[in-house]
Every structure is written in structure tokens, then in C-alpha cells.
């Protein structure tokens, strides 16, 4: 990209600059001997064209909306439309969450994002022994189609796009959504939204797995296939680096491990006989946004370029839509502090800038009180306003990929891409992501990074304002959102009522047909849908599958 003679002369000036600066440092040293990025990577004093030696602009950077998509998924990026401001919400009962969704839509939220409670995410009804104390706590409790009908009451499902953070029982919740839409008179082909459906990162980092790896991968490909025929506008998976980063990974690991998971899903779908250009356009991604603004921007660019290359060169995808990485971003929960929580608003603003300048398609911004509890309505509003300020006031949305061409950003993009590729290569050698998870490699790498970060925080090498520096004595915060324990009692009562009301013969029939389908190689989705419509509960449906598939056993290494 640069002329030979220019580079040669620059090399000379850079050498002089380095010598001169080193000499000055003897008198006035820099703040640190070595500078590190948020992910602990060494950062140089200055970046120049010498750091991009050999880069081919057209092949590696290019234009937005064009291969390899380094500069963005679409040509006009945020000039065309802003990203979807999608606030993850859900707590207590379906009634209360329904109210919060209506509030968010009134406040300018452009898509819904449903948080389910842990029993729902692990396929237990609210009256299960293990659900005790957990009902409605980290999300809304959904036991059957009846709860789902209340959750989306008065929300026209042909008008909103809905993202559901659900993995192991993703097929069941999607079936409930389809059934609610049908009752509203909305056919499945009009539904827009996303299910997370990414089981591999559950084993790695998030923990809401149910079944072992192999049947889980089969359920996922069944959903790919079913949706390609019946729910064509639905994003069937959101391959998530978010939780990998929250668990303590570096930026390069976030990209490497997430894309390795992506490769595993593509391979599973191909093995099931699906055509790459049919399912690949419905794959979507989900990344974190941490505080190191420039490193994060480079991360999104590297991920986009690497995925496009993998899809084209490794899998021979033909359609542009199969190569384009579209992604959702959430600001980093683990970067928030319980101390001086108002400081978190600033962190979230920086992270928002990173996600937007990195070209995100949708964004959830965390609220300042999330290191303490679920967010209150006011703090959620401030988090949403942060996105709106970046969108309307900051000016960064006026041009696509505004940081491109910065020597640092391009060098960092190359570095993250290279390191992520090395992780993918290592995982390939171990037999792919499922094997690398089963033998604990990925978890171990993340844990090492998390522990080394913790040590750096404790020895003060990493400063966290308000937590290990600039501390104050503070009063405990007030006004935190609390979920009433009565929710659990109410939810249990509702299951009891439902079981009296529904046609138990229908429930038994549909469940036994589902069992047969699970044992065969038929697609299970139509059978799940029938069971859901008969008001079989989530726990009953999941139990049928537990019986056939067994349960995943976590292997723990420290």
C-alpha cells in the first residue's frame, strides 16, 4: 500500500525518532515501562505505515459492504439506519415483563430482547426442586404457552423483532413464539428475531446446558432446517463471544473461540445435508464491548474479515450474505463496578462508541446498577439514552468505519485476526470446538487469562477507577430492583391450574410422539410445536428429551 522509497525513508526517520526518544526518557521516563491494552497486549509508542508493511488495501481492508467486509457489513452502515437499540429485559412474571417491554417500546427501543429466568433456561418448570429461589430472578419465568401468551400480549409480532436468550431449550421457546403469533393471526414466515441457540459457549462459559454435545448439535441443525423452510426471516443462532469475554478471555480469544464455535455449527449443518448458502445467511454473532476503545473496534473489524474469509475459502460459500458477519453487541457486564455505580454510565458510553464505530447491527447497553442487582427502570432509561446520544449527537455515525486507516487500528486488526486464527488452528488440531471443550482446552485458556487479569488488578497494574484507586466511603445504594418471592408461589399455582385445565390426553400423545422423533432421525421441531400447542410444559418437554438424550456432565479443571 505504501511506496518502497517512502517506507525506506520512514524507516530511517523512525530509527532516529526512537533513539531521540529513548535518550529523553533517561531524564523523563514514561508512566510505565511497558504499556498494555485492555487484553494485556503490548502497545507501542507510535504506529506508522511500517507496522502495516505489505498490507493490500483492496484485498484486506476494502470498502464497506464489500468482501472481506473489514469496513462494515453494509455499504451505507449507520447512515442508512441506526443499529437496533435492543435492551435485554425480563424478570418476575410474564405480566411484569410485558409491562417493561411496552415501556421500552414507548421509549424508543426498536427491538425486544427477552431474558428468561434460570429454570426456564435449563428446562425446569417453576415447581421443580432445583427452581427453588430462582423463579423470576434473572429473567421471566415461562412454564408453558400460557405464560408466553401473556408475555407478548398486545405486542404485534409482525411488527417487532424479538431476540430470545435461550439455548438448550431454544426449540421449545421458538415453538411457543410461533404458536403465540399464530393466535395473533401472524404466520411464521413473517416473524423476525433471533434465538441464541449457541450451546457450545454454554459448555465453555455460561453454564445453561442440558444435553450432551452430540444431541445438542442435532437439535441446533434441526432448528436450522425447520426455520429455513418455515421461519425464513428468523436468525437461527447467535454465536456468542459475549460470555466467553465475560468469563475472562482476551479480545483475540473472544474472536478465536467464537469463530471456532461458528465453524462447528457450519460443519454440523453441512453434515446434516443442508446447503451452505441456505442456512449461512441466518447465522448471526454476538460480541462484548469492553473499555479499551481502540482494541475493541479492531476486534470487530478482525472478526468480520476473518469470518468472511472462512466462509468463502474454507466452506466455499457463494452468496455475499453467507460471508457477511452480522452481530449484536452488549456492553461488558464484568467491567462494571459495585463501587460508585454512577461511574458505570461513563464506561458504558465508551463501550457504546466502540460497538458503534466497530459497525454493530444491534446493541444492548448495561445499566449502572447491574453489578448490584437487576436494573431499575430509571437506570435502564439512562442506558438507552446513552445509545441515543451516540446515535444523534456524537457524529460517529455519519461515516462508515470512521477509524479505518489509523495505523494503530489497522495493525491491531491484523494482530487480533492473526491470534484468532492461531486459536482456530489449535482447535482444529484438537478435532474442532466440541472436542476442545470436552477436553477442557478452551475453558483452561480463558481461566488463565481471567486469573492473570485478577492478579494485575490486585497488584495495581490495572487501575479500575473507584474500585482499586480513587476510592471513597459510600452509603449502600438504594432503590435496587427486587423480585418478590411471591412470584415463585404464583408461578407454581399457575402450573397446577394449567394441569387441571388442559386436555391431558393431548399432552400425553404429543409428548410420546416427540419421544419417538427424538429417537429417530426425524426433525423434532414439528413435534415440539404440537406439544407446545397442547400446553405441555417446558419441563415436561425437556424431560422427554433428557430421557432420550441424557444430560451433559461438566468436567472441571482448575
Amino acid at each position: 500500500m505504501f511506496r518502497e522509497d517512502v517506507l525506506a525513508s520512514l524507516k530511517e526517520s523512525k530509527k532516529n525518532f526512537d533513539e531521540k526518544t529513548e535518550k529523553l526518557l533517561e531524564k523523563r521516563p514514561e508512566r510505565k515501562a511497558v504499556f498494555h491494552s485492555g487484553s494485556g497486549k503490548e502497545v507501542k509508542r507510535v504506529y506508522t505505515p511500517l507496522d502495516l508493511d505489505g498490507i493490500d488495501y483492496e484485498k484486506e481492508i476494502g470498502l464497506p459492504g464489500e468482501y472481506p467486509y473489514t469496513r462494515g457489513a453494509y455499504g451505507s452502515m449507520h447512515r442508512g439506519r441506526f443499529w437496533t437499540m435492543r435492551m435485554y429485559a425480563g424478570f418476575a412474571t410474564a405480566e411484569e415483563s410485558n409491562k417493561r417491554y411496552k415501556y421500552l417500546v414507548e421509549q424508543g427501543s426498536s427491538g425486544l430482547s427477552v431474558a428468561f429466568d434460570l429454570p426456564t433456561q435449563i428446562g425446569y418448570d417453576s415447581d421443580h426442586e432445583l427452581a427453588n429461589g430462582e423463579v423470576g430472578k434473572v429473567g421471566v419465568a415461562i412454564d408453558s404457552l400460557a405464560d408466553m401468551e401473556v408475555l407478548f400480549d398486545g405486542i404485534p409480532l409482525d411488527k417487532v423483532s424479538t431476540s430470545m436468550t435461550i439455548n438448550a431449550p431454544a426449540g421449545v421457546l421458538l415453538a411457543m413464539y410461533i404458536a403465540v403469533a399464530e393466535k395473533q393471526g401472524v404466520s411464521a414466515d413473517k416473524l423476525r428475531g433471533t434465538i441464541q441457540n449457541d450451546i457450545l459457549k454454554e459448555y465453555i462459559a455460561r453454564g445453561t446446558y442440558i444435553y450432551p454435545t452430540e444431541p445438542s448439535m442435532r437439535l441446533i441443525t434441526d432448528i436450522f432446517e425447520y426455520c429455513s423452510q418455515n421461519v425464513p426471516k428468523w436468525n437461527t443462532i447467535s454465536i456468542s463471544g459475549y460470555h466467553i469475554r465475560e468469563a475472562g478471555s482476551t479480545a483475540s480469544q473472544e474472536v478465536g473461540f467464537t469463530l471456532a464455535d461458528g465453524i462447528a455449527y457450519v460443519e454440523a449443518a453441512l453434515k446434516a445435508g443442508l446447503d451452505i448458502d441456505t442456512f449461512a445467511p441466518r447465522l448471526s454473532f454476538f460480541f462484548n464491548a469492553h473499555n479499551d476503545l481502540l482494541e475493541e473496534v479492531a476486534k470487530y473489524r478482525a472478526a468480520r474479515r476473518l469470518w468472511a474469509t472462512i466462509m468463502k475459502e474454507r466452506f466455499g460459500a457463494k452468496k455475499a450474505n453467507s460471508m457477511i458477519m452480522k452481530f449484536h453487541t452488549q456492553t461488558g457486564g464484568s467491567t462494571l463496578t459495585a463501587q460508585q455505580p454512577e461511574n458505570n454510565i461513563v464506561r458504558v458510553a465508551i463501550q457504546t462508541l466502540a460497538a458503534v464505530m466497530g459497525g454493530t447491527q444491534s446493541l444492548h447497553t448495561n445499566s449502572k446498577d447491574e453489578a448490584l442487582a437487576l436494573p431499575s427502570e430509571t437506570s435502564v432509561r439512562t442506558a438507552l439514552r446513552t445509545q441515543q446520544i451516540v446515535a444523534h449527537e456524537s457524529g460517529v455515525t455519519n461515516t462508515a468505519d470512521p477509524l479505518a486507516g489509523s495505523y494503530y487500528i489497522e495493525a491491531k486488526t491484523n494482530e487480533i485476526e492473526k491470534e484468532a486464527m492461531e486459536y482456530i488452528k489449535k482447535i482444529d488440531e484438537l478435532g474442532g470446538a466440541p472436542s476442545a471443550i470436552d477436553n477442557g482446552y478452551i475453558q483452561q485458556e480463558i481461566m488463565d487469562a481471567a486469573y492473570s487479569y485478577q492478579k494485575d488488578v490486585e497488584n495495581g497494574d490495572i487501575v479500575i477507577v473507584g474500585m482499586n484507586k480513587f476510592k471513597v466511603e459510600e452509603e449502600p445504594p438504594t432503590g435496587l430492583l427486587r423480585v418478590d418471592p411471591a412470584v415463585e408461589v404464583k408461578q407454581r399455582k399457575q402450573i397446577e391450574n394449567l394441569k387441571d385445565r388442559r386436555n391431558s390426553e393431548d399432552v400425553e400423545n404429543t409428548l410420546s410422539k416427540l419421544e419417538e422423533a427424538c429417537k429417530s432421525d426425524e426433525n423434532v421441531m414439528p413435534y415440539i410445536l404440537d406439544a407446545v400447542k397442547a400446553y405441555a410444559t417446558l419441563g415436561e418437554i425437556s424431560d422427554v428429551m433428557r430421557e432420550v438424550f441424557g444430560e451433559y456432565q461438566q468436567s472441571v479443571k482448575l
Binding site: G133, A205, A373, M447
Partner: protein
């Protein structure tokens, strides 16, 4: 003198085990013997493991919001097993307002987000049965 033995446990359903694993490693680096249970442990599983492994301390990590339900139950079961001399501490996303209730119900100390691992280590060293 044998090293202090600690059971690091994850009660409830949440899968956020970064804190549990970090504290487990930190305790180990501080010379303690650490047993980590993994995710989704029931009250009985935790108490049984503590007794079987003859630990001096149980350190639970919980981020799901179910602490007020689950932690007092662990303390109660320890009492039933005459094992209340095992030091019982907890950590995670636990609002300050809940800490007095938990302390009244058998949990010796709660370490909230941002606590340096050295604070937890020193507390355990100072308070385990001698």
C-alpha cells in the same frame, strides 16, 4: 499442621463461575487445599461434599439472586449434621441490604464484587477452626 481445606461451591442454577474459579485458584496459591464442586450444586450435595472432604471452610459463589433462599439452607443443614464448626462464607452479586439477614442465618462473611482475593484469604486464615 495440615493446610486449610476449602470447598468452593456453586449453589443454585447460575453458570457464572469466573469468580468461583478465580477464588479457587487464589486460595490454592495461598497454600490451601481446594476442592471445586462445579455448577448447579444442591444444598445436600454441598453439605455432603464438605463433610466427606473434611473441609475447614465452605466458600460459595452465587450470582443468580437466589442467595436468600439457598445460603441459609446450607447453614441449617450444616447444623443438622453437627458441622457448624465449618467456616461458611459467600460471595457474588449480593446487595448490601441482604447481608445482615445472611449473617443472622449462619453465613460468617459475604464478599461482594470488587473484593480483592487477599481479603478473602486473610479472613479464612483468621477465622477457620483451630
Amino acid at each position: 499442621m495440615r493446610p486449610i481445606r476449602v470447598l468452593v461451591a456453586k449453589p443454585g442454577l447460575d453458570g457464572h463461575d469466573r469468580g468461583a474459579k478465580v477464588i479457587a485458584r487464589a486460595l490454592r496459591d495461598a497454600g490451601m487445599e481446594v476442592i471445586y464442586t462445579g455448577l448447579r450444586q444442591t444444598v445436600d450435595q454441598i453439605v455432603n461434599a464438605a463433610i466427606e472432604e473434611d473441609v475447614d471452610c465452605i466458600a460459595v459463589s452465587i450470582l443468580s439472586g437466589a442467595h436468600n433462599t439457598l445460603l441459609p439452607k446450607i447453614a441449617e443443614r450444616l447444623k443438622e449434621e453437627n458441622a457448624e464448626d465449618i467456616l461458611f462464607v459467600g460471595g457474588g452479586v449480593i446487595p448490601d441490604d441482604d447481608i445482615p439477614f445472611l449473617k443472622e442465618n449462619g453465613i460468617s462473611a459475604i464478599f461482594t464484587p470488587g473484593t480483592p482475593t487477599t481479603v478473602t484469604i486473610d479472613y479464612i486464615k483468621a477465622n477457620v477452626r483451630k
